[in-house]
């Protein structure tokens, strides 16, 4: 027993020392949590996003119907105890399809944001850091993209590539990188004039080292906020492309496609289109609220 006590004391000392060494990080995390709590909307946003991710991850293990099982006898049933969100024109359970659809939407959102932010980050950093002709070339390229309405350009690319979820992701990624490039460029322009960047160069740091070790970490928070805000937009766009038939194809339970398929029945059977539509709205809203919250939390001025 004495031995156990001794071990506890030792453990206590260890955690004390850990807390001592990392006291600033701990303070920082506590303060971040405090800021997070303070903003109700960002809490709501985080709640929605976390719930969505959990549901999407657990979808195959939840006690649901088969999203693809046709059951024509039960077609167009209104919401009831058995089918919480009713059934569609082919008798499939809408709640099941919505939950399986969340996997598709989140996957599209995450992939698109990852690809486009990576492309935008690298091009933008180079543009801001090296300046001159490289900057000019990359920025004029982004101008070209900004000159078109995003969705129209995505539609054109998707139409050229042909329908399908992979092509949808590619099409949206192609049109959404310029904003990251602009943000990364602005950050790089600002940070590259900091004295510590000059100091790093004066001790012989290479361009790549300066860019990725000294400049990148300082602009990452802007990119993270933009990526979160973009998630909602990307999911909306993907749903839009699917709605007009350029994205996911039947029988995929993609939300936009579900809305599209249900629109013929909307006069008599409102739930077929409306409920997947609500899912899109809530998801986009959740990501936007989270993004706004993150922006406030990362804001240096608010942190002081």
């Amino acid at each position: 027993m004495g031995d156990g006590m001794f071990r506890n004391v030792k453990k206590q000392r260890f955690t004390d020392k850990w807390a001592e060494v990392h006291r600033y990080q701990i303070q920082d995390i506590k303060f971040t949590m405090y800021l997070w709590q303070k903003s109700r909307l960002s809490l709501v946003g985080s709640g929605i996003v976390v719930a969505l991710i959990v549901v999407a991850l657990l979808a195959p293990h939840l006690p649901l119907y088969d999203p693809f099982q046709l059951n024509v006898l039960n077609r167009l049933l209104p919401p009831s105890g058995e089918h919480l969100c009713g059934t569609d024109q082919l008798g499939r359970d809408i709640l099941t399809r919505m939950i399986h659809g969340s996997r598709i939407s989140l996957m599209i959102g995450a992939m698109v944001v990852a690809i486009s932010s990576l492309i935008g980050l690298v091009l933008g950093l180079m543009s801001g850091y090296f300046g001159g002709k490289i900057d000019e070339a990359i920025m004029r390229l982004t101008d070209m993209f900004f000159a078109f309405p995003r969705l129209v350009l995505a539609m054109a690319v998707a139409a050229a590539l042909g329908p399908g979820i992979n092509n949808t992701m590619l099409a949206i990624a192609v049109v959404s990188w310029p904003i990251y490039a602009r943000l990364a460029r602005a950050g790089a322009l600002q940070i590259k004039n900091e004295i510590y960047v000059e100091a790093a160069k004066s001790i012989g740091a290479s361009n790549m080292r300066t860019l990725f070790l000294h400049i990148l970490p300082m602009i990452l928070h802007v990119i993270v906020v933009q990526a979160t805000l973009d998630m909602g937009g990307v999911i909306l766009e993907a749903a839009g492309l699917s709605f007009i038939g350029l994205g996911a194809q039947p029988p995929s339970p993609e939300w936009g496609l579900m809305v599209s398929e249900g629109r013929h029945y909307i006069h008599m059977n409102w739930w077929v289109s409306t409920l997947p539509g609500m899912a899109i709205v809530v998801t986009a809203l959740g990501f936007n609220l989270l993004g706004d919250g993150l922006r406030d939390i990362f804001d240096v001025r608010a942190r002081r």
Partner: protein
């Protein structure tokens, strides 16, 4: 091996701004011998820092080094490739900055940055770490092991400057450029940092280009002094001569402008000229009380008037 470590000849650096071309450096001539501490003094905006950055070739667009030679240890730095100049930085010439807390990256630990300084010069990781801790100890930082894990904002200005010194001297450079290293520190810390720098520089046998606007500090630390005015060196000599027998009217003005108890403060009349449209001839002539006719027409070349005493002024041509 020649006696001179660094010879700067006719260095010209311009900045291309929307308002026009800022002629920041207009023919800087400077020599630094081995193990010599040369002070570069002058007003704000006289081009001291631009000289330092030009020597290291750290001038970024819109700035550009137009012409000149920077002979360091037998090679012209302005003719090296980007890769070659990078291996000179840190290893052979390194720099300390005015604001130590701004010269350290706020998101990286002191240890990481110090290690980085060493690692850029192709050392093994363990060696780099060992050397980094040893350097922190050498610059008199308490508890170097813990300092290794600290972030810059956890350090005071003096401690941060010690860390910077550790960084810049870790590769035993032959030349240390100190750009007002103590201007942002209070007087007691200033003295400590100066002592520390002196000690370490002597230990590794480096030369120093010490940039300051504080004549007192310059007198105390430097072997030789170069006085700079609007982009070129107006006077260059050893410390004693400079303070006892200054020749250039500008230097005389500067020395007179040191506040003395019981006297009114002496000021040099006029103001620092605009570097986009600098005065013709000698750039000091509009403010100079002894100006001759020739001063507004011909730019004086820096010439040796006595042994080791160089002046750029028409008054001392003959």
């Amino acid at each position: 091996m020649s006696e001179e470590l660094l010879t700067v000849r006719n260095l010209v650096t311009h900045f291309y701004t929307y308002r026009g071309i800022v002629k920041a450096l207009e023919g800087v001539d400077l020599t630094i011998g081995r193990r010599e501490v040369v002070g570069l003094v002058g007003e704000t905006g006289s081009g001291k820092s631009v000289t330092a950055l030009s020597i290291m070739r750290l001038i970024e667009p819109p700035g550009k080094i137009i012409s000149g030679e920077v002979i360091f240890d037998g090679k012209d730095l302005l003719k090296l490739s980007d890769e070659e100049i990078r291996s000179v930085r840190g290893k052979e010439i390194s720099m300390i900055f005015q604001e130590p807390t701004l010269a350290l990256n706020p998101v990286l630990t002191i240890g990481l940055q110090l290690q980085e300084a060493i690692e850029t010069q192709d050392l093994r990781k363990e060696d780099a770490e060992k050397l980094a801790t040893a350097m922190l100890e050498k610059v008199g930082l308490p508890d170097p092991e813990r300092m290794f894990k600290n972030y810059p904002h956890e350090l005071s200005g003096g401690m941060a400057q010690r860390a910077m010194i550790a960084m810049s001297l870790s590769m035993k450079p032959k030349l240390l450029i100190a750009d007002e290293p103590t201007s942002s520190l209070d007087v007691t810390v200033q003295a400590q940092i100066l002592d520390l720098m002196k000690k370490l520089v002597e230990e590794i046998g480096a030369s120093v280009l010490y940039i300051t606007h504080d004549l007192g500090v310059a007198a105390e630390t430097c072997d030789k002094i170069a006085v700079m005015y609007t982009g070129y060196i107006v006077e260059f000599s050893d410390v004693l001569t400079m303070f006892e027998n200054p020749l250039h009217p500008y230097t005389q003005g500067l020395l007179n402008a040191i506040p003395k108890l019981g006297y009114d403060l002496y000021t040099i009349g006029g103001e620092v000229p605009d570097l986009i449209n600098p005065p013709s001839g000698c750039r000091f002539h509009p403010r100079c009380q002894e100006a001759l006719d020739i001063c507004s027409k011909v730019k004086p070349q820096i010439t040796e008037v006595k042994k080791g005493h160089l002046v750029a002024c028409h008054l001392f041509k003959y």
